[in-house]
């Protein structure tokens, strides 16, 4: 008998003994929940969903190349004149980062994608064809959007394809093959590539064509995010028992480099990554049994998450201040990089969104109502992001079965509900030039 065979035999016996009678009977509790749960029609089930992600959009504007041949002067002048006229007649595109004007909304609900006019709140289906479509996300210049599609009835496991189309729904095409466990994607700043995670690996798809490329050197990852402003690297969280933040060239021609300098506190460290628009800082969530002051949280209430800011150049970390006895989780930067929005965790079992200064100087302000959650912050059923004009938060409250999306102004005026509400509802806002 080999060493491994002995180990396996011992382990089987240990597993049986160890597992026996550990979990008390809770079948009645489960059935009470299922009894109140509505079954889905066959076409509308999907295990995974992606968070709302309005990010910062790059400029796609390219200057026409100079003429390379000598031509008749009059002809050259004519060409130049035509080029100037053509450029002048094109709609101005927003800068990739910074404050922009809000454009139309795209939303997915129950498997279809709709365009919502922000002035009239009227929605119109884009009519993208068959399939269960969800999670539309605009490119940084607002000229295109990408979304996920499951062809035919959805089954478990979900097999998804990433599609891209022009903002009006034209020129629809797939950029990945049907892929299992496709999750978390991000546009490159120049809008030519998309980074995504599938089966724990980092992939980059080029919109110009060709098969997506797996960046094997990244390791097992999550949350791939292009580093502003030039997108020369992709940041990601390494998924191990000692997680860390790393970066790698999207070309895969260099080794990954460590960005975080502090060893992980535990395997839940370095979650919910968001990057500042200038690429100088990132925020992340850290879970700990002791607060930043070193004092332990009450054991009966469990650990508590806090939001940290990291200087990407040095790896130095600062915890964002918050009210005593509360936690923080998640985060998003405002388009100008001055504010961050995160969930404040209340020990009585609730959460509430707040905005605060991104430099760690505090000035927390609550945005929207308190919502039920878990005292340890492990269950925050919401995703949020700033609108391109930086004046409101786009907040999706709910889970993958049912959700509602609200536009919540930061000035305290009442929120407005985005039209429609349903399963797999996601909303994104187009960036327009100011």
């Amino acid at each position: 008998m080999t060493t491994n065979e002995r180990l396996e035999r011992t382990m089987s016996a240990w597993l049986r003994d160890d597992a026996a009678f550990r979990v008390p009977d809770h079948l009645d509790e489960v059935l009470a929940v299922t009894r109140d749960t509505r079954q889905r029609p066959a076409w509308s089930s999907l295990e995974r969903w992606l968070p709302v992600d309005t990010t910062f959009r790059p400029r796609l504007f390219t200057v026409p190349s100079a003429a390379r041949v000598i031509a008749v002067a009059a002809l050259l002048l004519l060409i130049l004149a035509i080029a100037i006229l053509a450029v002048g007649s094109q709609p101005r595109l927003p800068e990739p980062f910074g404050i922009a004007r809000n454009g139309v909304f795209l939303t997915s609900r129950d498997g279809d994608i709709y365009r919502i006019d922000p002035k009239t709140a009227e929605s119109q289906p884009l009519g993208l064809g068959d399939g269960f479509d969800f999670s539309p996300i605009f490119s940084r210049d607002g000229t295109k959007f990408t979304f996920l599609r499951s062809d035919g009835p959805l089954t478990e496991p979900a097999v998804l394809t990433l599609y891209v189309a022009n903002a009006d729904g034209s020129d629809l095409r797939a950029v990945t093959p049907p892929t299992e466990s496709l999750d978390w994607f991000d546009w490159s700043p120049d809008g030519t590539r998309i980074a995504y995670m599938a089966e724990g690996s980092l992939y980059v798809a080029d919109l110009a064509g060709g098969d997506p490329r797996r960046l094997a050197g990244a390791g097992r990852i999550h949350f791939p995010t292009w580093l502003p402003p030039d997108g020369k690297e992709i940041l990601f969280r390494v998924e191990t028992n000692n997680p860390a933040i790393f970066a790698i060239s999207p070309d895969g021609d260099a080794k990954r480099r460590a960005v975080s300098k502090t060893p992980a506190n535990n395997r839940y460290d370095y979650q919910s990554i968001a990057l500042s628009p200038d690429g100088s800082h990132l925020i992340f969530t850290r879970w700990a049994e002791n607060g930043p002051d070193g004092e332990p949280y009450p054991a009966r209430l469990g650990w508590l998450p806090r939001v940290y800011v990291m200087d990407i150049a040095t790896g130095a970390e600062v915890v964002l201040p918050t009210r005593s006895g509360t936690g923080q989780r998640g985060g998003a930067y405002s388009p100008d990089g001055k504010l961050v929005a995160y969930a404040r965790i209340y020990r009585e079992g609730a959460f509430q969104l707040v905005v605060a200064n991104a430099d760690g100087s505090g000035n927390e302000r609550t945005v929207g109502d308190k919502r039920p959650g878990k005292p340890d912050g492990s269950d925050v059923n919401a995703t949020w992001t700033f609108t391109p004009d930086g004046k409101a938060l786009l907040v999706r409250y709910g889970n993958d079965t049912q959700a509602t999306t609200n536009l919540v102004p930061l000035d305290g005026t009442p929120p407005t509900s985005i039209e429609g509400s349903g399963g797999f509802e996601f909303v994104d806002v187009q960036r327009l030039a100011p």
């Binding site: 060493t3 491994n4 180990l7 396996e8 011992t10 382990m11 089987s12 240990w14 597993l15 049986r16 003994d17 160890d18 597992a19 026996a20 009678f21 550990r22 979990v23 008390p24 809770h26 079948l27 509790e29 489960v30 059935l31 929940v33 299922t34 009894r35 749960t37 509505r38 079954q39 889905r40 029609p41 066959a42 076409w43 089930s45 295990e47 009835p153 959805l154 089954t155 478990e156 496991p157 299992e180 466990s181 089966e199 191990t240 028992n241 535990n266 839940y268 879970w287 049994e289 949280y297 054991a299 009966r300 209430l301 469990g302 650990w303 998450p305 340890d376 492990s378 079965t401």
Partner: protein, 184 residues
């Protein structure tokens, strides 16, 4: 019999689903405990898996694959649970109501302690392979299908899990040896 229950449950018959859940929970609970090592998290994972099973049953194309599908939902739920954080690891587990049924000698108890420490160091995905294969006794092709990964990947994960367990146990033995000999 089970196929009939699945067919009925797919059409919204909750009593049929209750029978299916009642039969399954006795293996789901221990499997979830093994993967998560926390009673409350295990209960949450099993509940999430069964609620999803009920909700998504109409999408299950082949009723004969119900068990494999349910195992997959459980594994996903456990991995989701494990990736969040959670409660203080030193919370007293008041719901443990039985000790292991076998009377062990000192050596066996030490072995089991070391196994537990080694197992705790594994990533959730590796624990899942071990639990499916060594606790639920699923053949490796079924483990692969349950996890939705190629057979080679499943075997590779099992190999890696065993190697990591072995390394952890060896390291543990060395530390204990050092302690006995007063070197640490």
């Amino acid at each position: 019999m089970q196929r009939d229950l699945v067919e009925r449950a797919r059409k919204g018959d909750h009593d049929a689903f209750a029978e299916l859940a009642g039969a399954a929970i006795s293996r789901l609970d221990p499997a979830a405990w093994l993967m998560l090592r926390d009673v409350e998290q295990a209960k949450d994972a099993v509940q999430n898996a069964l609620v999803r099973a009920w909700r998504d049953l109409p999408t299950l194309r082949d009723p004969d694959r119900f068990d494999a599908w349910l195992h997959r939902l459980l594994v996903n739920a456990c991995i989701d649970e494990a990736r969040r954080l959670r409660r203080h690891r030193l919370d007293v587990d008041l719901t443990t109501i039985s000790a292991p049924s076998i009377v062990d000698d000192v050596s066996a108890i030490e072995d089991r302690d070391r196994l537990e420490r080694g197992f705790l160091r594994l990533e959730p995905e590796l624990r899942a392979v071990i639990v499916l294969h060594h606790y639920l006794d699923l053949p490796m092709p079924v483990v692969a299908a349950t996890l939705g990964i190629p057979l080679g990947t499943a075997k590779s994960r099992l190999h890696r899990a065993l190697a990591e367990m072995r390394a952890a146990l060896d390291a543990d033995s060395r530390v204990r040896g050092d302690l006995v000999e007063g070197r640490a």
